[in-house]
């Protein structure tokens, strides 16, 4: 058995003296682990930093074996982010969430594509808001691919698609401003940049944090609590850091 594909390193765990078990996010094979001989050694360790892009060849005798990877580095966005605490927190959170939430060996092309878009934004010259918006969209795609997509197209109570301002924390459906007013303490705010047809709107910091709260709630409830897990600490640190990070 073997295949070759580009992938994004999600994690690397030392195995034995110099080998590493790495997890890649690939478009066609999803989150896929494999052994890299020498992967924890001095020369290769830099290749397997979370967020790095590699061309990987996976080989195993049987399909359900762990198998081994041979990888070639394509690009290392991680290195460019080491000095930027907020971007580094975004990268670490995205990798930790993908590693913890995605099932193994199940292809999720949409998640891969949005993850790639997020990496480009993280490595770009844009503002914190710019990449943080991409991060929220990536988590929305993660929820959707895992079967817990939010329905933000119309109000759950009235069926209308205008004036949407809230999301029900139970159903994940949008609620309009007027229909949700009596329950505003229990509903989650819906930032305008996540509304259908609002893709061109640039959010402000408060809206991005609302978006993170929204996706974090449903990921914690449906993905992690269902498996008796807690949302990764890296994701919590990102949310805390975005609350404090400078706007530039």
């Amino acid at each position: 058995m073997h295949w070759s594909e580009d992938g994004i390193v999600l994690s690397a765990r030392k195995h034995g003296e110099s080998a590493a078990i790495i997890q890649l996010l690939t478009r066609m094979h999803g989150r896929h682990a494999g052994l890299v001989r020498g992967g924890a050694g001095r020369r290769a360790r830099g290749i397997y930093q979370p967020g790095n892009r590699v061309t990987a060849t996976w080989r195993a005798r049987l399909e359900d074996h762990l198998g081994s990877y041979t990888c070639e580095l394509l690009s290392s966005p991680a290195a460019a982010l080491l000095d930027d605490p907020a971007r580094l927190a975004g990268l670490a959170a995205a990798c930790a969430m993908a590693a913890a939430a995605l099932p193994e060996r199940a292809p999720h092309p949409e998640v891969y594509d949005t993850f790639s878009a997020l990496l480009e934004r993280l490595a770009g010259d844009g503002t914190v808001i710019d990449w943080a918006e991409a991060y929220v969209r990536w988590e929305l795609s993660l929820l959707a691919e895992l079967g817990y997509g939010l329905d933000l197209s119309a109000c759950a109570a009235t069926g209308r698609n205008d004036g949407l301002a809230w999301v029900s924390p139970r159903s994940g459906r949008a609620v309009s401003l007027s229909a949700g007013e009596p329950y505003r303490d229990k509903l989650l705010p819906l930032p305008a940049f996540l509304l259908n047809g609002a893709a061109s709107e640039t959010p402000d910091r408060a809206e991005v944090i609302q978006g993170l709260t929204l996706t974090g709630h449903f990921l914690a409830r449906h993905v992690f609590a269902a498996n008796e897990q807690r949302i990764p600490a890296a994701r919590q640190r990102l949310a805390a850091r975005l609350g404090d990070a400078p706007a530039g």
Binding site: N52, L73, S76, A78, L82, P85, A89, A100, R237
Partner: protein, 201 residues
Amino acid sequence: MAGPEIERLIALLAKLPGLGPRSARRAALHLIERREAMLDPLARAMAEAAAKIRICATCGNLDSNSPCSICADPRRDPSVVCVVEGVADLWAIERTASFAGLYHVIGGTLSALDGVGPEDLNIAGLVARAERPETQEIILALSATVDGQTTAHYVADRLDALPEDVRPKLSRLAHGVPVGGELDYLDDGTLTAALKARRPV
């Protein structure tokens, strides 16, 4: 093939870094054949180390005394504290003989994969040391990895939260081209970091 004592010795040696079952067997045989020159002194040294070595209550270093010989050395500069992940890193910096300050071993890095959080690291001890008036600078000598630098930023945030009058200067190790490194053979990440950290000549 051998008695249970020898088998146990081989099994324990095989767990050491760099040794596998075959090399452990060779090492065990080497020790046993040189009982007086190797085995007895090694056994005594190990028993002594097990009995005496402890973790320095100030910096987290390993030594037979607490405070350790580095913390207790009056020739060292107490105004500079170098933060390292582990004792191996402390030894690596000591080998260079280029740092005369004190150390603080935090005991690892934040790791989402391994579930290591801030409470698992000796960060509270570092904050307490930073508040002491003699501490003027803290050097973050953590790995140039995602986990290492995530930890460095976290520590920096914690130290930044100190009142301005007690907050020490913060610095970190440079990232870039190693001595003897040829540009053609360097990875993209190192070159990127080196370009970002370039200095006027």
